[in-house]
Structure formats: structure tokens, C-alpha cells
Amino acid sequence: MKTRMLFMLLSAGLLFFFGCAGSGAGLDENGNPIGSDNGGSPVPFDPTFTNIQQNVFNRICIDCHVGIAAPEGLRLDAQNSYANLVNVPSQEQPDLLRVNPGNPDLSYIIRKLEGGPNITGGQMPLDRAPLDPQTITTIRLWIAQGALQN
């Protein structure tokens, strides 16, 4: 009985901490400070790699896909993203390229962003709202136009 009480007390102690999440004051929906390089609201952009880097990778993806321990080895910071994406086989599904120039439907990044039924793991960005359809369409267009480093 004493042990069960101890368990209940310790369990209640664990739950006591629940609610320690931040208020989000001064942050955008991705947790980036508003006014910082990565913060603020997204705006429509033209289908160039520079724009995708600034508006998608820098704002959202590099919270996880950065540094030496980036998931699936996919670093999406400006120095590494293009080389890690274009014509590179996916780690999760090596039969598909992450970005297949000219073929958005055969690009694994599109399947991950759209949350297709045949993906491995979760839809990207993980645990966040999916990218808006317009942004995905823009990425599709960039790939369809040859996935240039423009």
C-alpha cells in the first residue's frame, strides 16, 4: 500500500510539471523570434532555389535538418542543402531521388511534404502544420523547371 502511494505521488509529481511549455510570446509559429532572420510570416515567392532556401528551409526545416546529426543525413542549411537534395538518393527509399530534376512526382521530397501514402516515416515538417499548398506547388515548379541552383 505504501509503495502504491509512493508511485502515485511520484506520478503526480511528473504530471505537476506538465504545463511548462512556453507562452510563445514574441515568436512565430515555428518558434523563431519575430524579426530574426528566420522569423515572421511566410509570403508567396517565385520558384527559385534561393527563395525556397530562405522561405522554407531556413524558416522551418533547419530546426531539425541541420548540423552533423541531421535526420537521414539531410542537412538543409544554405551551405549543404542543394548538394544534399538534387540527384541524391533518399535514405528512406533509395529507389527515389530526393529531388529528381524535371520530375516532381518522382521526387521523394514532394512525397514527404505532401504526406503521400507510400512514404517512410511521417509527413514533413514533422509535428508541424503541413506546408501550404501554394508553397508545395512552388517547390514542384522549381523541380519541374530542372531544379536549378538559381
Binding site: T3, R4, L6, F7, M8, L10, S11, A12, L14, L15, F17, F18, G19, C20, A21, G22, S23, G24, A25, G26, L27, D28, E29, N30, G31, N32, P33, I62, D63, V66, G67, I68, A69, A70, P71, E72, G73, D77, A78, Q79, Q91, E92, Q93, P94, D95, N118, I119, T120, G121, D127, R128, A129
Partner: protein, 362 residues
């Protein structure tokens, strides 16, 4: 509704018992991971003792395997060649105040294992192949020389880093944020010793999540721990350096049991240095488990994550609570509710989840 569910979970706690992540089993039994797993650092294929424990000792109503002439250990050539598997399928519902509610069936991470003991108790070839969802992918493949002095071993190939508590949930902050989880094996060499109650292991790997290594830098991971009958404590550290980035991770973990109760905890500090951005992160995990009757367990866990200690008010936390049962031999059923809290403007990260999962294992 959240409060009601939380209270319901607490009532369950008062009335019944606990469990989920697998390290609690090791703590409950006062054993090291290697007692039940071929991979000495834990996870993956089970040893003969591990399958026996899972098929006969653990279940609520174990099947009468002996009378039906069903083995609990599937092997050939006098146990020199053996196989195993984990299959998981689940139904997941999400509930969000400001977003849409979802419900989906999915096959979860499922793996097939092959072990060949080329020289019994000395040289082992090991394969852990992820077979679902998506295409097949090798999670671990290595050769291992074991039973060296000091109960030592040397492992070479692709394996999961020896860091922290190897909880089964890859989405736990301590596994997701640190990058040490079942999705991030790496290629290199691991050496370890288990003299008496102590465990000491270290690895050197490419540090590139098994992507082609194009530099001279390597990742170093080490763990030192004491594993007693009722109590265990340890520390893990990792250093991964590259030309344009480096990451250090330090952590401590502990576990203890009192009668049918098990408690686990881990805290990790993560330092990233990048050309464009430095970041300090902090994660914690605490879990309490209670076995009410054989094969029925209750669990409550709390997680906290500060994704950037230099940014205020961006923290996340969550509580996971639920019940699981090893209904019969080779079958586990889990029902968990996950209360997620994040900054209010990030609606998906505040969505709660209900998970019902079937797990077949041998």
C-alpha cells in the same frame, strides 16, 4: 476534455498498473540489456532467454507452447542460426483545439532479424532489416566478437550509438532531439566491457548517419553506467566534429525499482555550433511504471524540451499515459494518450494523440 482525460488516467493509475518503453523491463528484472538482446547495447533481436521471457514469463495468458510443440526461439543448426522479428501496426487519432482532427491506420516500424553464431559465444554476424513501412532498409548490420576479457566485445559495422536509455519511442524528445534513436544508425566500431555491475562502452563512427563520409572527422560516443539489482545510474556523452559544424551531447540517466514499480529518467544537454547558427538544447524524460498483474502494465511519462535555450518561451512538454498488455505469447497491445503542449501559435504541436498499437514479436 483534457482535464477529464488526465483525471481518468490518474484514476487508472490508482486502480491498475504500468509500462511501455522497453528499458523498464531491464530495470524491473535488474538485468542489463544484453541479457535479452543479441545486440549487447539493447534493442532488436532477442536472445533465447529474451524470447523465453517474452513468450512465457511476460504474457498475461501465455500460450501452451510446449503441448503444441511451438518453439519460442526460432533457430536452425543447433541454434547457430536464428531469426526474430517485430511487427507493429497502429491506429492514431489526433485532437486539436484549433486544427482538424485525424484518424489513421498505419504499419509502424517493423523489423526482421537474423543472427548467425559462426563460433558459438564468440563470433556473431547480426542483421536487423527494417521491412516496413516503405521499402526495406538495413538498420543494423555488424560482426561482433564477444566474451572477451572483462566480458568485453568489439562490434564493427552499422549500428545504433550506445547513448542513454534506449526507449522504444523514437519520438521521445530525448531520442528525437539528441539524434540517438532507431532511425539514426551509423557505421564504425564499438568496444565495450561489462565487468560485474558496471558497463563501459564507446564507439567511433563516421558521424554522418551512414551517409558517405567525405571528411576525416569522426563521431565519438561513450556510456558508463552501474547496473545493480534495484538501481542503475549512468552517463553518456557524444562529440561529433566536422569542418563546418560540431555537436556535443552530454546526458545522465537513472532507473530504479521498488516492488512492482519502476522509475526511469534521463536529462540531456545538446550544443550545436554551425557556421550560420549556434544552438543549445535541453531535454528531459521521466517515466513511472507499475505492473498490476502479470502482463498488464500502466505507465505515465513526462517529457520536456527546450529547443533553443537562448530563446525564451519556446519550450515544449508532454505527458504520455496509458496501459499495455502482453496478452499472450508473442502479442502486445498498447493504448496510450499523449498530451502535447507547445507554443500556442503552433497548432499541430499542441494536438493530443490517442494511439492503439498491436505489436507481434518473437
Amino acid at each position: 476534455l483534457k482535464t477529464l482525460l488526465l483525471l481518468t488516467a490518474l484514476v487508472y493509475l490508482c486502480a491498475t498498473s504500468s509500462i511501455i518503453a522497453e528499458p523498464y523491463l531491464a530495470v524491473r528484472e535488474g538485468l542489463k540489456c544484453s541479457a535479452c538482446h543479441t545486440n549487447i547495447t539493447g534493442g532488436g533481436k532477442r536472445t533465447q532467454m529474451g524470447t523465453g521471457y517474452g513468450a512465457i514469463d511476460l504474457p498475461w495468458k501465455p500460450a501452451d507452447l510446449e503441448s503444441q510443440k511451438i518453439p519460442h526461439y526460432f533457430s536452425l543448426i543447433k541454434d547457430l542460426l536464428s531469426i526474430g522479428a517485430d511487427f507493429r501496426a497502429f491506429n492514431r487519432s489526433t485532437f486539436s483545439d484549433g486544427g482538424s482532427e485525424t484518424n489513421t491506420f498505419q504499419t509502424d516500424k517493423s523489423n526482421f532479424y537474423l543472427q548467425a553464431d559462426l563460433i558459438r559465444d564468440r563470433i556473431t554476424f547480426y542483421l536487423d532489416e527494417t521491412i516496413a513501412p516503405g521499402g526495406a532498409q538495413t538498420r543494423e548490420i555488424f560482426g561482433m566478437i564477444h566474451n572477451l576479457p572483462g566480458r568485453g566485445w568489439i562490434k564493427a559495422g552499422k549500428f545504433i550509438h550506445p547513448f542513454g536509455l534506449r526507449v522504444e519511442d523514437d519520438r521521445a524528445f530525448i531520442r528525437e532531439a539528441t539524434g540517438f534513436n532507431f532511425n539514426t544508425p551509423d557505421t564504425g566500431v564499438e568496444i565495450g566491457f561489462q565487468p560485474g555491475p558496471f558497463t563501459l562502452m564507446a564507439s567511433i563512427t563516421n558521424g554522418t548517419s551512414s551517409i558517405v563520409d567525405n571528411n576525416l572527422s569522426k563521431q565519438f560516443v561513450g556510456t558508463f553506467g552501474y547496473v545493480g539489482d534495484f538501481f542503475r545510474v549512468g552517463t553518456s556523452a557524444s562529440y561529433n566534429d566536422a569542418v563546418d559544424a560540431n555537436r556535443r551531447v552530454h546526458g545522465g540517466w537513472a532507473g530504479f525499482r521498488i516492488k512492482d514499480f519502476v522509475f526511469l529518467g534521463e536529462a540531456d544537454w545538446i550544443w550545436d555550433e554551425e557556421l550560420t547558427r549556434d544552438r543549445d538544447q535541453f531535454v528531459t524524460y521521466a517515466e513511472a511504471d507499475y505492473e498490476v498483474i502479470d502482463g498488464w502494465n500502466l505507465k505515465v511519462a513526462y517529457e520536456f524540451y527546450d529547443p533553443d535555450r537562448n530563446v525564451d518561451e519556446n519550450e515544449r512538454d508532454r505527458v504520455i499515459t496509458g496501459v499495455e498488455s502482453f496478452l499472450t505469447s508473442f502479442v502486445q497491445l498498447q493504448l496510450f494518450y499523449r498530451f502535447n503542449q507547445s507554443i500556442p501559435q503552433n497548432v499541430p504541436q499542441n494536438a493530443d494523440e490517442l494511439l492503439l498499437r498491436l505489436h507481434i514479436y518473437f
